[in-house]
């Protein structure tokens, strides 16, 4: 069936793929809703808005990497546990007197190595990434509990705590800058660099990508490794913010991150992905959390409402694409 696109503006409006913009619309709607209803409780204060960013930036950083993973039609469930282990290892390194630069590199390489192992298992043994990372999640969280026998590791290095999460520059939390840098890098690679296109090609149609000469195993290996690295960075930011490493960091984050990515407009089946959408998706989940707390809902009620909003948002975007 061939239908010519007419030049009428109405037709053009109809032909826009609303799914792409759903998260932005939802973001604005939720924002206005909270801004109006929670006007007197201080939702709109600078302090509270910065708080939202502080609470969301770490999820957003993992969501940027997860965008590539899901874009390549893979999944990574091990990120929460990687965050915990990397935080602990970095904290232990600092405790041992290793300088910040090396301690953070050690923390980062923890995630890189685990991500690489994930990738190798997926590509060499052809095990679905869901199963590989499910197993890895359990192993790594076990290791994280094991190495300090569940004891937290305090970080007394103020420079570290400032740089990795605790500090602010000109009133803006340093976490915001971390998020910005990672998001920009992720966005540019996804949209402009060959690797981004290869990732989406692999996720969109693995077979066709292979028939086009794309090394799909290399793509999978790299996205899994990047995801591990982002999770390690997230863990170290948790550590800086809390001035300690704990095995509980990142618990359940994998689900928040996946929700943020899908909410942002990335296809769960791979092939189409957006980094900016994922960041907005993360911010939206953070904003909902924050708004519900200010409303005075307790944790159980927050969870119910949060889940409903996620399902609604995805349902609307599905509806929009069917037109």
């Amino acid at each position: 069936m061939q239908s010519k696109v007419s030049k009428l503006p109405v037709k053009q409006l109809l032909s826009i793929d609303w799914r792409k913009y759903m998260v932005y619309i939802a973001f604005v709607v939720v924002f206005i809703f909270f801004a109006v209803t929670l006007q007197d409780q201080g939702f709109l204060t600078t302090n509270n808005l910065l708080n939202i960013i502080r609470q969301t930036a770490i999820i957003a950083i993992m969501a940027v990497a997860m965008t590539f993973v899901i874009g390549a039609a893979q999944i990574d469930l091990s990120i929460g546990s990687i965050a915990a282990l990397s935080a602990l290892i970095c904290a232990l390194s600092l405790q041992a007197g290793i300088p910040i630069i090396f301690s953070s590199l050690i923390g980062l390489s923890t995630g890189v190595v685990i991500g690489l192992i994930n990738g190798l298992l997926v590509t060499r043994l052809s095990i679905p990434s869901f199963l590989v990372t499910l197993g890895m999640m359990i192993i790594i969280s076990g290791v994280a509990m094991w190495i300090t026998h569940t004891a937290p590791v305090p970080i007394l290095n103020d420079t570290y705590n400032f740089l990795f999460g605790g500090g602010s520059i000109g009133g803006i939390p340093i976490l915001f800058f971390w998020m910005l840098v990672i998001a920009v890098i992720g966005h540019v690679i996804l949209k402009k660099a060959p690797f981004g296109r290869k990732t989406l090609a692999t996720g969109g149609n693995e077979n066709a990508a292979r028939f086009t000469g794309i090394n799909i195993n290399r793509v999978k290996l790299l996205v899994m490794t990047a995801s591990g690295a982002a999770a390690a960075l997230a863990g170290m930011l948790y550590a800086g913010r809390m001035s300690s490493g704990r095995y509980t960091f990142g618990e359940g984050d994998e689900m928040s991150v996946i929700a943020a990515v899908i909410l942002g407009g990335t296809s769960l089946f791979g092939g189409t992905a957006t980094v900016i959408g994922s960041v907005i998706g993360s911010l939206m989940i953070g904003m909902i959390n924050n708004g519900l707390i200010i409303m005075g809902l307790d944790v159980s009620q927050q969870n119910v409402v949060k889940g409903l909003i996620i399902i609604l948002a995805v349902a609307f975007s599905k509806k929009a694409i069917q037109r």
Binding site: Q2, S3, S6, V188, R197, R210, F211, T212, G213, G271
Partner: protein, 499 residues
Amino acid sequence: MKQNVLRMKNISKSFNGIGVLHSVDFELQAGEIHALMGGNGAGKSTLMKILTGVYQLDEGEIYIDYKPVQINSTQQANEHGISMIFQEFSLVPTLTVAENVYLNKEPKTKLGLIDQQQIREKTKEILQDLQIDIDPDTEVSQLGVGYWQITEIAKALTVETKILIMDEPTSSLSKNETELLFQLMNRLKAKGIAIIYISHRMDEIFQVCDRVTVLRDGSNRLTNKIAELEMDQLIEHIVGNRVGDAFQWVERTYDHNAMPLFEVKNLSIGNKVKNVSFTIKPGEIVGLAGLMGSGRTELARGLFGLDPYQQGEIYVRGQRKDYKSPQQAIEAGVALVPEDRRTQGLILEHSIRENISLSILQSLTKGLFINTKQSNEIATEYVNKLAIKTDSINKLSGLLSGGNQQKIVIAKWLATNPNILILDEPTIGVDINAKIEIVKIIREFANLDKAVLVISSELVELLAVSDRILIMQKGEITAQHDRKNITSEEELEHAIQSF
């Protein structure tokens, strides 16, 4: 005069104000096989979707057994005895034949559970009636594609079917499976079932159909007995005034004594390809004919580095190239247009531009980033050059017709500027206009002193385009003929089948 089982009268349909069908008349008699033909966009699928209740007509009437009917849903179409066999099979591979045949129509026991025994027996009856010898307890995934088709038909026969619509049923079948299907269709016909047969394959239409209706630009151009038509006449009705002589073979000139551009020596791949040797001169188009399972596709895959070869050598311009991956094959100047554009050729949810530039990402990259401007230019260039019908290079490739999709795959490879172009079934499931254009594209490419290997089951096309034809049987090249020494399609057919 036979009974009219269906009459569609003055059917019109438009989408967003654009007319797709203009007062189309279509009649179907009980116990006939009626071919429905036309290029992509001619309105065939819209007409069938109206008949099966997927779309509603704007104007017109439908009569079944001379009684006016309304068809507003697929449910209602089924109640009127209309069944459609889909191109993409709607079977569950992990269930048995019987379970598939009665899927969602399972007879129940007194307890309300599925009566497995009855399902099995009833399926057996249907299969016996069709004289098909398959065990109803076989898991569908264990069967060949041909039997999938038959299972689909059996599924349609569980309800009282008067009209059976088959859309390109043979596109994935081998010669034998196609024969089997045709026998089955004749048996259905003898039972008084009317079959609407949609296909682009001329030889099959002439072999199996009684009458033909041709649609072009949403109007009925011809309804006639097949026996009274010549193939040329039929093509003329389908393509309108654009009859090309593209399907006429033209003797091409190239240097027969030149050093081969592509040479394969004693190549063996698994047990599918045995000791294959051949050469292609610059400017030469070599055709590869063989039955399904003869090792054609395996050879193509091996030549593109997708599967490792155990033995043999490949030379490009006299230089030995031992490639082990598609990446290395591309570097050696080899390109493969694979047999299945939807699963191997394209990323359907990506745009035309993205698909075309996927093969040349490295050369499009300046510094760290892809040069968007250049990638737009290249996509636009090929959209124009290959006459890909689209309103924008940013349109999703999955939204285009088969012929245009195939052109995107070809464009993707032409963009790499290859020296050797291998095409595996380049015109499968594309309409006659697109076929003519693809043949033209292949010729123009070869005219640049490039080497082309065309693999095809469609002998008419192979005869039209090749300078030389290799015959492949059971993994070996058993013969080769200069095109000018082959006088007819039958001769080639015989060469392929004889052992």
